[in-house]
């Protein structure tokens, strides 16, 4: 029939176009996930210490899935142009496996993002910041990571604690065990610093005089990058999967129509 003969090049063209988009999105996904895994904000030690670094696992999977999508899209384009049943069958099966992995990555990123509540970071900060006697090497590694990350966070973002400096007053902490409450109502890094890294007015900082200490909480500085990471992986992956779904259905239809 003339109509189906006309339709075939159109279908081929659409599928090739679909695969080109998949290839480009695969490269973009790989690049985005490499950016997130490189941890530009230095927040990974906090997540590692909470043993809740699922969003990093999702990003790692995303790197390999993106690359696989790129390679498979090239295979798909070749298979469609040559109308080769075997190539297209291999393409479909490998794409399904990649689809499953990307599904896992998206759901992992979205689910683990929900675990990162202010209370989680608060509890971890109170229990680990400047903890004096770590139980073992792993504990010491995590304690150092948490302490360094919090110091950097509080200095760079001019913030203190998770919700505010009163976190250090409302709860006892590992920090409180080694530092007197009279001298350190909150850590020194919460004080407003001058150019040399010394508190501008130590007594003012201890009393809580506005201007001599950081009164904001650091949760915004933590949750901002973490949210970008998690939603970037989850929603972009979801968009790629929706597009891949359509292309795969079209390819299966094309494959079933190829005569031997």
């Amino acid at each position: 029939m003339a109509k189906s003969e006309d339709c075939i090049p159109i279908l081929q063209g659409l599928l090739v176009f679909g695969n080109v988009i998949i290839g480009m999105c695969g490269i973009a996904l790989t690049a985005e996930c490499i950016y997130f895994v490189s941890d530009p904000h230095g927040l990974y030690p906090l997540l590692e210490a909470t043993e809740n670094d699922g969003i990093y696992a999702a990003a790692w999977i995303g790197i390999f899935v993106g690359f696989a999508l790129f390679a498979l899209s090239i295979l798909g384009i070749i298979g469609i142009i040559k109308s080769n049943r075997t190539l297209l069958l291999v393409y479909i099966i490998l794409m399904l496996i990649t689809f499953a992995f990307e599904m896992a990555s998206c759901i992992t990123a979205a689910t683990h993002r929900d675990f990162l509540t202010p209370n989680l970071f608060l509890k971890q900060m109170l229990e680990r910041y400047q903890k004096a006697e770590p139980a073992n090497n792993n504990d010491q590694w995590m304690t150092e990571g948490v302490t360094k990350t919090w110091d950097k966070l509080m200095l760079q973002n001019h913030c203190c604690g998770v919700l505010g400096p009163s976190d250090w007053q409302e709860y006892t902490s590992a920090f409180r065990l080694t530092h007197y409450d009279a001298d350190f109502p909150w850590p020194r890094k919460c004080c407003a610093m001058d150019a040399q890294g010394l508190p501008v007015n130590l007594d003012g900082c201890k009393l809580g005089v506005p201007g001599y200490y950081n009164s904001n909480g650091c949760y915004d500085a933590i949750s901002g990058p973490v949210n970008t990471h998690a939603w970037g992986v989850a929603w972009f992956g979801f968009a790629i999967l929706c597009w891949t779904f359509c292309v795969l259905l079209g390819t299966m239809f094309y494959w079933s129509g190829i005569e031997y």
Binding site: I92, I93, L96, F99, A100, M103, C106, I107, A110, T111, R113, D114, F115, T117, N119, L120, L122, K123, L126, E127, P165, S166, Q169, E170, Y171, T172, S173, R176, Y180, D181, A182, D183, P185, D203, K206, L207, G208, V209, P210, Y213, S215, W231, A234, W235, F238, L241, C242, F245, L248, L249, M252, W255, S256
Partner: protein, 227 residues
């Protein structure tokens, strides 16, 4: 003296902590009674024993900081009366309990050490001269220090599942199921189709019987009579 010491009403986050508290500086309160050699002390007592506190008759009888656990009161912050004149020199608050160095050494000097328990405490200022107390302010209202909770009371579990997770998970699961069904269906149809064709071949082969047309051997027709 009618003055009542109090915690400064200003918004200072550290005005009451677990072991210290701040007080407003009593400016111009002792001017009429103080001479140059007088000192102003701060008497700190637990709220339930403040009624039984007796002013020490001389400087030697001043209860020191380390007696706080036993006598439930002590006096500290010995300053010259000149420090409390008008106009107010900075700072405008006094911090009770801010000196952690003297609590271990146990010196006899007035020690402004950290308070060991949350209280509540009551304070009053006492103007001491050479011959004993000359004037005193009223007792303050009870000051309760902060009590800190243990971090194990913090519950890190999120209160409710985010809606994004549900959307992503459900849509992805349905897409995956549709794809898997489509692939299985397509493969199954092809396999079924090829099986049916093979069956058709063998059965047709079996059924297609060789129909023999019984053609009797043609008897040679006598040639038609010659033309």
């Amino acid at each position: 003296l009618p003055y009542v010491p109090r915690v400064p009403p200003a918004a200072l986050l550290g005005k009451v902590t677990a072991t210290t508290f701040a007080l407003e500086r009593p400016c111009c309160v002792f001017d009429r009674h103080a001479s140059a050699a007088d000192t102003v002390w701060l008497a700190v007592a637990f709220a339930n024993v403040s009624a039984t506190f007796r002013n020490p008759p001389s400087r030697a009888d001043v209860p020191p900081y380390k007696q706080l656990p036993t006598t439930h009161s002590y006096m500290t912050l010995e300053t010259a009366a000149a420090a409390y004149t008008c106009p107010a020199p900075s700072p405008a608050v006094l911090r009770v309990g801010g000196d952690t160095a003297c609590k271990d050494q146990g010196r006899q000097d007035p020690c402004n050490g950290p308070l060991p328990s949350p209280g509540p405490y009551r304070v009053k200022f006492l103007l001491m001269g050479c011959h004993g107390p000359k004037a005193e302010t009223r007792w303050s209202d009870p000051i309760l220090l902060r009590r800190a909770l243990s971090p194990s009371t913090i519950n890190p579990v999120p209160t409710r599942r985010g809606s994004d997770v549900v959307v992503i998970a459900s849509l992805l699961a349905s897409l995956g199921t549709v794809l898997a069904t489509a692939v299985l269906g397509a493969l199954g149809a092809k396999v079924w189709g090829s099986l049916c064709q093979r069956d058709l071949g063998t059965s047709a082969f079996a059924r297609r019987s060789y129909w023999t047309h019984h053609i009797p051997p043609a008897l040679p027709q006598p040639p038609p009579p010659g033309c």
